[in-house]
Symmetry: C2
């Protein structure tokens, strides 16, 4: 898995924690530990989901549009890196006469899909607010 998903969560948690409620790409990039251009690119995705708003121009930046308790990690995952839990390169070859070589990738797709959906079932129960609370007020949480 690449780090799009955790970085997206980080951005949303940061905005949820921010007292001013907004931040520009430079501030966010420094907090996450990445480059402002990458933040802006990721923000496109979060904006399309309706989770953040953008203000361009001087004094501009990003701000939350949704309630932290309404943003589920499973949805962030789906928006940022869906399918990332399975390997890109399948084994075997579809045209082989050997049933194992030709059929294994379809079978594995099935198992990866099922397993990934259990992974997402769990993340469906965790919100941006939960993550924030785990950080600023470490008590047992989802």
């Amino acid at each position: 898995m690449n780090s799009e998903f955790p970085a997206a969560v980080h951005l949303l948690v940061y905005l949820a924690h921010s007292t001013s409620g907004s931040a520009n790409s430079e501030e966010l990039a420094e907090n996450v530990g990445t480059h402002p251009a990458r933040v802006r690119k990721m923000m496109r995705c979060l904006r399309e989901q309706g989770w953040v708003g953008t203000r361009e121009g001087i004094g501009g930046g990003y701000f939350l549009r949704a309630e932290p308790a309404a943003i589920r990690l499973a949805d962030i995952y789906r928006a940022s890196c869906c399918g990332g839990l399975r390997p890109k390169k399948p084994t075997g070859s579809p045209g082989s006469t050997c049933p194992v070589s030709s059929g294994i990738s379809g079978a594995m797709d099935h198992y990866f899909g099922e397993a990934e959906s259990r992974y997402l079932d769990y993340l469906d129960g965790v919100t941006v607010q939960d993550v924030l609370h785990r950080i600023v007020d470490p008590r047992p949480l989802p």
Copy 2:
């Protein structure tokens, strides 16, 4: 995720399906679609788990040592690429004065760990035999 895990499953399923019960690294590599040296390397791991045996020298190769129905995909996953479901590079920085930046990676580790364990719970219910049956006799199966 890299393709160690699906390749390992492929190797075991192939041996389980093979009528002779054994195959050398060249035959396995061709079936999986990779290099014989990589097969030999992966076999080390499968041998250490007691799932396959090796015969060196002329006429040698690999053969199953365990029942296909007793080899669980979750165990293959653990042996071949445990932890591969989380990104390698954490976001934020531990020393930061910002609680989000310093705390997010610990929080995400927790959620990734929980989610991965759901993923494995599912794979725990699938065996090499199940995979083989799904390929050679496609009926509803785990």
